[in-house]
Amino acid sequence: MSSVDTERTITVTVNGVPREATVPVRRLLSDALRHDLGLTGTHVGCEHGVCGACTVMVDGEPMRSCLLLAVQVDGASVTTVEGLAADDGTLHPVQEAFRECHALQCGFCTPGFLVTIAAGLDKRDSSAELTEEEVDDMVGGNLCRCTGYANIKKAVHYAAAAMKDGA
């Protein structure tokens, strides 16, 4: 087979920056981000969509980049953990909260949690009181082997409180 059949050039806005990459059509988005674009903050924990470490936002929605082909996001906007902080380096409230609440140990699952929770917090009305159901929803789909989740849940509350104060 020629490369015409097996490769595609895609254009993706990654963390606000238009990027172009020529990738094999079978390339996973997680691998394209990590190995073609050098954004190694997105981690790969299972490659079958269960652990959530590879979660990125695609057009604002959290998605598992190990279950997407890179060619599927052609034309889309992708946000990785590297893009959560503001341009001036100000951390997203959930990043600040993870540090403050000791919500990470080895840090390998952390990018997936941060992106998922950030997506959840960003789309909610920050002036509303955060419910336990919302917290469970935001943290319930990702695996962490170190923390036992208690401090991750605490961090979601901490971040929501900070966003409420800042709203």
């Binding site: 079958h48 540090r99 699952c109 208690a150």
Partner: protein, 806 residues
């Protein structure tokens, strides 16, 4: 005063990079490296008849294929038995690539190196290995029965028969007022860190030197293994553990085949080579732990005091024994827990099966030992109709009995002598924390909601911080920066923070000036590793001693400059000053410059130091005999024996008698690890350990079928707890400082996982009134137990029923 940070919940320094995606894990390194992938055995036990690579040779991107035939010298020999033991009479290890026979699904047979991982896996698919299948042994009972042998020359499948005895147990049992016997099982689980293993190797052909990054818990030992196996001089090999995405024990094993094969390929090919383990590989070719059959006989009196304990354990060690019999020894010696056992005999038969090797997983044999001892306590209480906490209380070692000698030999070859603790204190705190006396009221209240409620508890003592040693190096630079290094590695325990806290407190410098490096053989070449809850105890104390050495030298130099006695000086906020005389001071950074008589004025610090420099005496050398240039010190901590931490957990479960779903509604932890460097980090360790304990009790098991195929080798099927499965945890602390080390600390890393299975089994048994003798237990298994009329009912349940009918 910001420098006295020992004991404070200092926020972690490593988080700054990890929360913005700037961590550097193994697969983040070497994006231009060639990729390795492996053909692994699909059979649990087979002879390799033929390996045909013909169909793979024309795949574009192929660089090299390796089989056993390509291995020479030490690489062609079996992998090492890391920890031999006289009672390990039939040790066996595999080869880096299978040599004619495979003994578990997942054993590496062929290594492929290609331009990228996708291509490497394509090539693996095209390599045809022909096998002749052999009979398969799965599980301890099959290994015991020995209808087939894993290794033909070991027909009984027994690798080791570990035996310890403290008195004449048969005689003690014969004279015991009461005895009872039972058999119980515990299943396999595994560490499953979120990051699998991985290796990156780069050979510098001009310098003839090798740099290896590996996701390991023991970089110095990997270095030694690579040098020996690849016949390289140790000084040409450097090994670095980058950010490691969790370990929990599996990464202490070394050398993994890939840790040798990837460097071998990098040298042969003259190119960077990398292998990052995928999740299926981790399930079938790393390590598991926990499966045991436990046969227990206990003698006791009418008050529930134990008179004798006789334990015979069958321990599944998988296909090979690279890590010796550490896990069986730990089970055998930690089983006795916080109790006085007047006569104890334990035999652990470690048996081969055609399954993944068994090496330490957080707890390393302790959860099984705790399960044996604590379930024994429950049986005694049930037999006598006594409160389970009371029976435990009557058997506890008292605070006045320390040091308490169990007359056993621990994993480190040293005696099991408990240095300190307060076990009655733990039990009292636990009863209060969980509301033990409220159990009957809670049971009735749950019953009114149609739920079955039960409470259970389990106590443990954990030998932590085994030797032989760890080292620390502390150096103050002229810039004021303080460099700290130790050889042991980090996998999320916050060592950069905890060790910086220790140095800040010992040396009197701001924590912001301190930089900590771990697990890098370029910085510290002698180390043992991060396992057995030993990092804070071992490297923490070594680093404290190194910091004290630096302080002593700094005060000596400063005393000379300030014309004061060293004992009149103190260091605070990085400044050496005469106590009570503000003004009379010198920055530690300047002392660092003065410590080196060669002072080229490269920077302001060196220029400023000249004002303090005093002409040396003409009749003495510039560097005194026995002294050295530089403000630095290296020291080692080598303990006489392990220090023993302890704790007590209790669980309250509610069970839905329609679905038999088991819900842990309350989990209480009382924890004693001596002096605490950072309570925030210790609590985090407890949280994570409890989550693994709950997983091991209710969800996680390695589901091998009779052919040795692992049926649940994915995160879809192996049920690791999500947030929804982990209960809220109430924690109370007790501190009995260790008298054995300068900082008075005991290890904390493994504690949280140890009593989970025992406490939850006890709570379920209390709730349903049927004997729970196999863990983990699923709702389906509980349902089967409940509808089986022949399943054993507890005496407690029968008494409750009789009471209800009366």
């Amino acid at each position: 005063m910001t420098t006295k940070l020992f004991g404070e919940p200092v926020r972690r320094r490593e988080d700054a990079r990890l929360i913005v995606g700037k961590g550097r894990y193994l697969d983040d390194i070497g994006h231009t490296a060639l990729a390795a992938a492996f053909v692994r055995s699909p059979h649990a036990h087979a002879r390799i008849v033929d390996i045909d690579v013909e169909g793979a040779l024309d795949v574009e991107g192929l660089v090299a294929i390796y089989t056993y035939e390509d291995l020479t010298g030490p690489m062609a020999e079996p992998l090492p038995v890391l920890i031999p033991h006289p009672q390990l009479h039939a040790p066996r290890t595999g080869y880096a690539l299978a040599n004619g026979e495979v003994n578990h699904v997942g054993e590496p047979v062929v290594m492929v190196v290609a331009t990228d991982r996708y291509v490497a896996e394509d090539i693996c698919d095209r390599i045809v290995v022909t096998y002749e299948e052999l009979p398969v042994v799965v599980g301890v009972d099959a290994a015991r029965e020995a209808a087939a042998a894993v290794h033909a020359e070991i027909p009984d499948n027994v690798a080791a028969r570990h035996h310890q005895q403290t008195a004449d147990v048969p005689a003690a049992l014969a004279s015991s007022p009461r005895t009872l016997s039972f058999t119980q099982y515990i299943e396999r689980s595994a560490c499953t860190p979120m990051e699998g293993k991985g290796v990156h190797a780069k050979w510098d052909a001009d310098d003839r030197s090798l740099r290896v990054y590996t996701s390991t818990q023991a970089s110095t030992s990997v270095r030694a293994a690579i040098a020996a196996k690849l016949e390289l001089s140790l000084d040409t090999v450097e090994v670095i553990a980058p950010d490691v995405g969790g370990g929990f024990g599996v990464k202490i094993v070394h050398p993994w085949p890939e840790e040798l094969l990837v460097p071998l390929a990098a040298i042969a090919l003259g190119q960077e080579v990398k292998w990052a383990e995928d999740r299926r590989e981790h399930f079938i070719s790393s390590a598991h732990e926990r499966q045991q059959r436990q046969e227990i006989t206990v003698g006791y009196d009418d008050e529930g005091r134990i008179t004798a304990l006789d334990v015979h354990i069958w321990h599944d060690n998988g296909a090979y024994t690279p890590y010796g019999i550490i896990v069986p020894i730990v089970t055998a010696t930690q089983l006795v827990g916080p109790y006085v056992i007047p006569a104890y005999r334990v035999i652990v038969e470690s048996v081969y099966t055609n399954t993944v090797i068994v090496t330490p997983y957080r707890g390393a044999g302790r959860p099984q030992g705790c399960y044996a001892m604590e379930r024994t306590m429950d049986r005694i209480a049930d037999d006598l109709g006594l409160d389970r906490a009371l029976v435990r209380e009557r058997n506890l070692i008292q605070p006045s009995q320390f040091p308490y000698d169990h007359h056993l030999t621990f994993q480190d070859g040293r005696p099991v002598i408990y240095d300190s603790g307060d076990f009655p204190g733990l039990l009292d705190k636990l009863r209060a924390l969980v509301g033990w006396s409220e159990a009957d009221r809670l049971r009735d209240e749950a019953a009114s909601r149609g739920r079955l409620l039960g409470v259970g508890m389990a106590l443990y003592v954990e030998g932590t911080g085994p030797g032989p040693y760890e080292g620390g190096h502390v150096q103050v630079l002229g810039s004021g920066k303080v460099l700290v290094s130790t050889g042991l590695t980090s996998q999320g325990q916050g060592h950069e923070t905890a060790f910086a806290q220790i140095v800040a407190s010992e040396l009197g410098v701001p924590i912001e000036d301190i930089e900590v490096t771990t697990g890098d053989t370029r910085r510290f070449a002698y180390a043992v590793g991060t396992f057995a809850s030993r990092a804070a105890v071992m490297s923490g104390n070594a680093i404290a001693l190194a910091a004290r050495g630096v302080k002593e030298k700094a005060l000596r130099i400063a005393a000379d400059v300030l014309e004061a006695d060293p004992s009149d000086l103190e260091i605070s906020e990085g400044v050496v000053q005469v106590k009570g005389t503000p003004g009379a001071s010198i920055p530690l950074s300047t002392v660092a410059v003065l410590s080196n008589p060669l002072r080229y004025a490269f920077d302001e610090a060196a220029k400023q130091a000249t004002q303090f420099a005093r002409p040396g005496s003409d009749d003495k050398p510039p560097v005194a005999v026995g002294d050295a240039p530089g403000l630095e010190h290296r020291d080692y901590y080598s303990p006489i024996r392990s220090t023993f931490a302890s704790g007590a957990h209790a669980a309250i479960v509610e069970i839905d008698p329609a679905t038999w779903e088991i819900d842990v509604v309350k989990y209480a932890v009382v924890h004693d690890c001596g002096n605490v460097v950072n309570p925030m980090i210790v609590e985090g360790q407890v949280h994570g350990g409890v989550a693994q304990g709950v997983g091991g009790a209710l969800y996680e098991r390695m589901a091998y079928d009779k052919d040795g195929q692992l049926q649940n080798a994915s995160f879809m099927d192996f049920l690791m707890p999500y947030a929804s499965e982990v209960p809220d945890i109430d924690i109370d602390h007790q501190q009995t400082p260790s008298p054995l080390n300068p900082l008075g600390i005991k290890g904390a890393g493994e504690a949280g996982v140890i009593p989970g299975t025992a406490a939850i089994a006890s709570a379920i048994e209390d709730a349903v009134g049927r004997r729970i003798a196999a863990m983990p237990i699923s709702p389906t298994e509980l349902y089967d137990l409940m509808r089986d009329d022949s399943s054993e009912r507890t005496a407690t349940a029968q008494r409750r029923e009789a009471g209800a009918m009366a």
